[in-house]
Structures are given as C-alpha cells and as structure tokens.
Symmetry: C2
DNA sequence: CTGGTTGCTACATAATATGTAGCATGTCGC
DNA sequence: GCGACATGCTACATATTATGTAGCAACCAG
C-alpha cells in the first residue's frame, strides 16, 4: 500500500494549499494514531508489532499507513531495533513533551466539573 | 470494533481505556481538524462560519462535531464574539506554540532531500 | 526443515468525513 | 410589523478512511 501505487501525485500532506509548513504539520499530526505513535516512540524504539500492542492493538492497516507518512516526513525511521525517532523526530517530541504535564492538569479540571 | 457495541455512554474521549490523561488528550487532538481549530483560535475568537473559512472550508458536519468535542473538553467556549479558547485552552496553546518554529525547520529539512 | 520472529498487505465491514443544502433564531434598518 | 441579513447548527447522500481478521514473503535460530 505504498501511497504511490494508484493515486498519482499525492503530496505528503493534505489540505495545506497555502504551503505554510505549520499547516502541513498540523495536518500530519491530526491524523488518527499519528500523535500516539510519536508518543509511544518517545523514549524507546519499538518493532511494528510491539508498537501495535502499545497502541491499543490498532489495526495494522492504518498503523502501516501512518508509519509510512511519518517516514516520508522524516520523523521516524526503521532501524535494526525497530521504529525509532529520527533527530528531527526527537526535536518534535521535545516540543510537545510539556503536553504530558498539561494533560494532568486538564484532567483534573475536567473532573472538577 | 471492540470499542463500544452501540454507543450509549460515549465518553469525551476514545480509545484510552487506561485512564491516563495523556492518552485521552492525544486521542482528542488526533482527530481531524482538532489541532487546526485550536491553531486558528490561537490569537483571536472566530464565529463558526469564519472558522470554517479559516479551515480551508472544511465541512460543517465535522467542524461542529469537533467544536462539540472541544467544548466538552473545556478547551474552547462559545462567547458573544464567537468561539474562543478558555483559560485551559490557552494553556494548551502555549504548550504547542513552539510547534510553529519547529515546522519551519522541519520544512527546510524536508526540502533538503 | 521447523518454529519463531520480522515488516507488511488483502479484503470485507464499520465508522467518519465531505459537499450541498437548509433550518431556527437573532438583529439590524425601516 | 416587514425583509434582509448573519448566527449556530443539522440532514443526508456520497466519498474516504479505519477496523478486524487473516495471511504473505523474508529472515534467523535451532
């Protein structure tokens, strides 16, 4: 299911006709499982199957599609020990690592309702 | 399809059976248009129609669904001047504002291929 | 060769998104 | 009051995308 088989030019990203990189990035990260994959790989490499388990047994179809997207985007790479973040991917991870702490506060503010 | 047989209780978030807030957050942000909406509202409120234009004329169906999700999550609210970030939403925005700068570098590293 | 991994794909079914249209409510000038 | 707007939101048929189950070929260890 390489993205080039039947759909002709299909850019790496969708939507962003503007060419603004942030739009391309938001689009990529806004696809199902993308953020989750990056999160699971944040501190260790995982084989495709281990990643599947980590992702609540998501279907392999989407997972492979997302892995393909993320590889095209240069954020992850397939290494001898499985999938892992590239240097660029690690940069990205660092920018939303604070999300973890926010999630805790957010969760509390929801429960406070 | 194990998530829910029909859809009675429909929690705010999907997937996260673990109860870990980060998973709930990643799931919410990983739905199409969610990140984009937050981004567009980052520095001004927008009416639902203005938001639609800002989002490359996304279909109103999903947009309303996402607005509903984000309101349930307490990240945005409908104010007299349109939709805007809540205090919590602004906190979240601050955590991924650095994404903008990353996007620029990332874009360059892609073009360098 | 057997038994185990790996990354990845096929395919039918279910869930989501897209486009286009339109509703109900409100607010303005008149 | 009226009409002409704009607001938030919804219907619904059509595409697109995800799910779940199964299985492939390649690789390596025993």
């Amino acid at each position: 299911m390489a993205k080039s088989v039947s759909k002709p030019p299909k850019r790496v990203v969708r939507g962003s006709t503007s060419g603004r990189p942030i739009m391309a990035l938001l689009d990529l990260l806004g696809r199902r499982w993308t953020l989750r994959i990056l999160w699971e790989l944040r501190e260790r490499s995982l084989t495709s199957r281990a990643l599947r388990e980590a992702c609540d047994d998501a279907s392999p179809t989407v997972l492979q599609a997302r892995l393909s997207d993320l590889r095209d985007a240069g954020l992850i790479a397939l290494q001898p020990d499985g999938y892992g973040l590239t240097d660029t991917g690690r940069e990205l991870k660092d920018t939303f690592l604070p999300l973890h702490r926010f999630a805790e506060r957010w969760s509390k503010s929801l429960a406070a309702d």
